[in-house]
Symmetry: C2
Subunit: 295 residues, 2 copies
């Protein structure tokens, strides 16, 4: 494909690896990150530093952002020093953060008024997917803009899906996270029951990890629980952020999701108990403590 | 294998198909069912009718039961006219109902006192698995008895697992059902969110049915929900029975399982709303009604 002038905002674990693939593909990349040091390796590979999201956007045809919270998305895109302030007519802004569908729609509207296209394109697949360019990317926004950016998505991921208008990418990611929340409480309570009943958790997973109860979570996260491994694949603190967005958006739609609300509360307890930097399997520890005599 | 004198108690949808495989394998089968008519097809194929579980057991080396509730199991095995009263020294009683681990242990103790072995061996795989002899069978009890019965299990299922002492088969089944309960609330809330957000549920499943959120349930039960198909694969009323057993057993172990308890309540609501004979995907209807304006 033709080389494109690309802006990249946010060079954390995910963004750094994803941006690297675009450099490797021969594009010109302008980069900004709140902490400049974290973009150092990308600059060594040819990325050019810009002092703000706005200046990143001034030089780019397609501007990507992948930052933390919706408030960060709002700042790097919509503030006076944000990408939209610098974006040229005809540019595309692609937010790949997991963020609020409502904010995605607002960005689209504000961008549209300036003759700029906007896509919401959150990902799943974690740091490994980012490194190996095997991410799933769920995209919302105008189809024409999607078609323009698709070759760039293909450099970063393997399963690219156009899901509909503005916000549809974020909505899809929310569906994914709601599904994970329910599955996780099933995994954790099942293994807690197994342990209490005196059963070997790995032997239980061998059986229930097949057939009608099977899931990626029981066979991967469940195994880690059985091994006593609570290291992060996906951080508790990030999952709490995502569930918060889903619950906010559901509230906005007058939609009660009692299962998600319950699971969210236990993850909030994991945060309260200082386990925000463990993996999502820390839910097991929360429910285990709930069921233990206090000192 | 050598032909065995087999007793079979319970010829509902599951038991009828399972018993048929043993007839096909050339064994002599003595059969009892509360409703005699439902054993008619088996008698046409050579099974001999007995007027009670006790008389079934008097003629058999291995006695199988697959009935409804733990109270039914107790009656067909432990009552005065039950299988144990008729069983000869050296016989094996195999309860394949999904029933209480605690009851399985009591049956084992009572049988042991009479020189009779007992196995608890609940199954999963549904009516299709029973018909096609592809059931998963989770077995608890003495290993020696398991080894004796294994060739018969192999006529009925494909994934046979010895899980440990008395009750271990039922415990494994409970782990399976607890896992399904959590996964189902995730499936249902995810698809409800999708619908409310204006997304096509099938398109959402195409994406979230892969990767870290994936499960058998989203890809099979989720598809039925998206199709508006609430026909039973697995009945609401049977799942409510199973969850009740799991919650009872958890209570016995002083184990709080808040996710299971919540999901169970919504399935109880499905019962209250007259949907006990729909499939477990009726949970979607319960949560959908929860979120609709009342008339």
């Amino acid at each position: 494909m033709q080389a494109v002038s690309i802006g990249w905002i946010g060079t954390g674990v995910m963004g750094n690896a994803m941006c690297g693939h675009l450099i490797d593909a021969g594009h010109t990349v302008y980069v900004y990150n709140r902490t400049r040091d974290k973009a150092g390796n990308l600059m060594e590979r040819g990325a050019r530093w810009c002092p703000s999201p706005k200046t990143v956007a001034e030089s780019a045809e397609v501007i990507f952002s992948i930052v933390g919270y919706p408030s960060d998305v709002q700042e790097v895109i919509l503030s006076a020093e944000g990408a939209l302030a610098g974006a040229k007519t005809g540019a595309v802004i692609v937010d790949m953060s997991t963020s609020s569908p409502d904010l995605a729609r607002r960005i689209h509207e504000r961008a549209h008024q300036k003759g700029v296209a906007a896509l919401d394109a959150p990902v799943s697949g974690g740091d490994i997917g980012a490194r190996e360019a095997t991410l799933a990317i769920m995209v919302g926004g105008d189809l024409a803009a999607y078609d323009r950016v698709l070759p760039l998505f293909n450099s970063m991921g393997r399963h690219i899906a156009y899901m509909g208008g503005p916000g549809a990418g974020q909505h899809t990611k929310m569906c994914n996270q709601i599904l994970i929340a329910g599955t996780m409480i099933g995994v954790v309570e099942s293994l807690l029951y197994a342990h209490r009943a005196g059963m070997a958790q790995h032997a239980i997973i061998d059986v229930i990890g097949q057939g009608a109860a099977s899931s990626w979570a029981i066979n991967h996260i469940g195994r880690r629980i059985a091994d006593g491994n609570f290291d992060p694949g996906f951080f508790v603190k990030h999952f709490v952020k995502d569930m918060g967005i889903a619950l906010d958006e559901a509230r906005r739609m007058n939609l009660s999701l009692p299962g998600l609300a319950l699971v969210n509360q236990f993850y909030v307890a994991a945060m309260a108990q200082g386990e925000e930097n463990l993996g999502t399997q820390a839910l097991y520890r929360v429910l285990n403590r709930l069921n233990r005599p206090t000192a």
